[in-house]
């Protein structure tokens, strides 16, 4: 069953068609990478999926329901989590509280259980010993990891990540790949990623977007072999 589907989803800015009639489907449990050159419309597409921006036309279906008309918070409530391409954490709150905000929303737990869950999640991204630091005082890479932790804390059905490894160190990227493999199977993942190494190692399927349209779709091997993709994207890398 497809957890997420879009039909003819479109969004333009002025005259520019950032997302142009995109039909897209991710089956439950899959790790899907969304790649494409800068400006291809990847961020706009996922933002329209989770309701952060409004689509002009087309529909979004999640977990068997048409969510096209739901506001963002209702979509998130249904089991989506979203990490921003441009780091967006609560700079003045502690790392712990950043994650706790997500955990509290999904689970009416006691304080102690929430604490435990938050620490578990922070530990998973290697930030456990920084839980009391203000998010704004964390290094850029750590803020990126905190974003991921905020998503994890919500235990989403669909985890949308917009360029999560941007700004991470080598070792952190290794950890990230490990994390995705752990999540795979339980959590459906939609990953926008520039790092081809990460894509090839984690994604089961890849969708290539170019100028707002789906250019190709397939397994990593298929996409790598696709000449259109090479022309539009990989070749230029």
């Amino acid at each position: 069953m497809n957890l997420l589907e879009t039909r003819c989803l479109s969004r333009s800015f002025g005259g520019l068609k950032a997302v142009d009639n995109v039909d897209f489907a991710v089956p439950e449990g899959q790790v899907r990478a969304l790649i494409g050159p800068n400006g291809a419309g990847k961020s706009t597409f996922v933002a329209a999926v989770c309701g952060r921006i409004r689509a002009e036309s087309g529909s979004v279906h999640f977990d068997g329901k048409d969510i096209s008309r739901l506001p963002a918070h209702r979509r998130i409530e249904m089991g989506m989590a979203y990490t921003f391409q441009i780091t967006s954490v609560f700079a003045n709150l502690t790392a712990h509280e950043n994650v706790a905000l997500g955990v509290r929303r999904i689970a009416r737990l006691g304080r102690r259980d929430i604490d435990q869950k938050v620490m578990e999640v922070l530990d998973r991204v290697g930030l456990a010993e920084r839980s009391d630091q203000s998010a704004g005082d964390l290094s850029y890479g750590h803020q990126r990891l905190l974003e991921i932790a905020m998503g994890l804390g919500q235990m989403p059905k669909l985890f949308i990540m917009d360029e999560p490894t941007q700004g991470l160190a080598e070792g952190e990227i290794e950890e990230f790949k490990h994390l995705i493999r752990q999540l795979a199977g339980d959590t459906t993942i939609l990953l926008i990623e520039h790092n081809m190494n990460v894509v090839m190692e984690t994604a089961e399927q890849i969708t290539v977007l170019n100028s707002g349209c789906v250019l190709a779709e397939g397994t990593p091997e298929e996409v790598r072999a696709n000449s259109d993709v090479q022309a539009a994207y990989l070749g230029t890398g």
Binding site: A72, H73, R74, I76, S88, N92, L101, G102, R105, Q154
Partner: protein
């Protein structure tokens, strides 16, 4: 956990000190303190919206006056007893904030400030327009004989002090609990980064709306308590000045801290009191102090304490 213990000790400590002060200081200061505590309820309500939710309203006098007139008019015109009149004041201010919040929250930022200001001006003009009942600026007195609850004369010195204390303790503790609850944490998150809070799945509008209603109702409680304890209601309390004052108190005391509203209200009260003893240009002294505070302690008094080591200060 230890942070929690410290917070609770602080709250209990503040209340114990306030109760004890009655027996320590002179009658003159008792009277001042009663007034400060009632007005601090207003500041506590304002702080919930401004300090914790990040919404700057310039129209809270409307909610304060709604409570004040709700109580005053239902006593004087309808002959209500004090307790039901108090309830009328609270319910009326809750209703007014529900309506104003619903409309004003279509805007944000500067527009929100202006819309709330306009609503409050409309309320002020309404109070003047129905001068036949409200006696406009001049106001009206609520007879001492009717200011009784359960046989206790609330105009008597000690009774008034402890009634004021009760109102303050109630709102202070309620807000302290609220801001520590998941709801309150979400308000802070909205203040810090609204878009992020939304994308964590929170209904930002609804949280803000409930915050406006809670804040407006607490402000109304303050207005009703003021009329009840001091026996007077007048349109001055609906004027723009009374929308600015709670902002001032909260800024002075420390926005987004539980103790800030009390500190700020007391500080401003005594500042004006002292300055007007020394000079007729007391507003100049007040203005200067505010400028100095915003320059050197932009987080307010308790915000400054928090910055200088008391990091746990709630």
């Amino acid at each position: 956990m230890t942070g929690n213990l410290k917070e609770n000790s602080l709250h209990v400590g503040v209340l114990v000190i306030l109760a004890a002060l009655f027996f320590v200081v002179s009658d003159y200061h008792d009277g001042n303190l009663a007034r400060i505590m009632v007005l601090a309820v207003y500041a506590v309500g304002y702080n919930l919206l401004f300090g914790y939710s990040g919404l700057l309203s310039l129209g809270h006098a409307l909610f304060f006056a709604a409570g004040m007139y709700g109580l005053g008019l239902s006593m004087n015109l309808l002959g209500f007893a004090a307790l039901p009149a108090l309830l009328v004041g609270i319910v009326f201010s809750a209703g007014v904030s529900a309506i104003v919040g619903f409309l004003a929250l279509r805007t944000s930022g500067v527009a929100f400030m202006i819309v709330t200001l306009m609503f409050a001006q409309a309320g002020f003009l309404t109070a003047l327009h129905f001068g036949e009942y409200t006696r406009g600026d001049e106001g009206f007195v609520i007879q001492q004989a009717s200011r009784m609850i359960a046989g206790i004369d609330l105009s008597a010195h000690a009774n008034r002090y402890f009634a004021a204390f009760g109102f303050f303790a109630l709102s202070y503790v309620a807000v302290a609990i609220l801001v520590r609850s998941p709801f309150g944490r979400c308000l802070v998150a909205i203040r810090e980064n609204e878009e992020r809070a939304r994308m964590l799945g929170y209904d930002v509008w609804m949280h803000k709306y409930l915050a406006v209603i809670a804040s407006g109702t607490i402000s109304g409680l303050s207005g009703a308590a003021y009329a009840l304890l001091f026996g007077y209601a007048g349109a001055t309390f609906a004027s723009v000045q009374y929308s600015i004052l709670p902002l001032l108190w909260v800024l002075l005391g420390g926005a987004g801290t539980t103790i800030g509203p009390l500190i700020g209200t007391a500080f401003a009260f005594y500042l004006i009191d002292l300055a007007s003893e020394i000079t007729t240009a007391h507003l100049l002294v007040v203005g200067l102090t505010i400028v100095l505070l915003t320059l050197f302690a932009p987080q307010g008094i308790s915000g400054e304490l928090r910055r200088r080591g008391l990091k746990w200060l709630p």
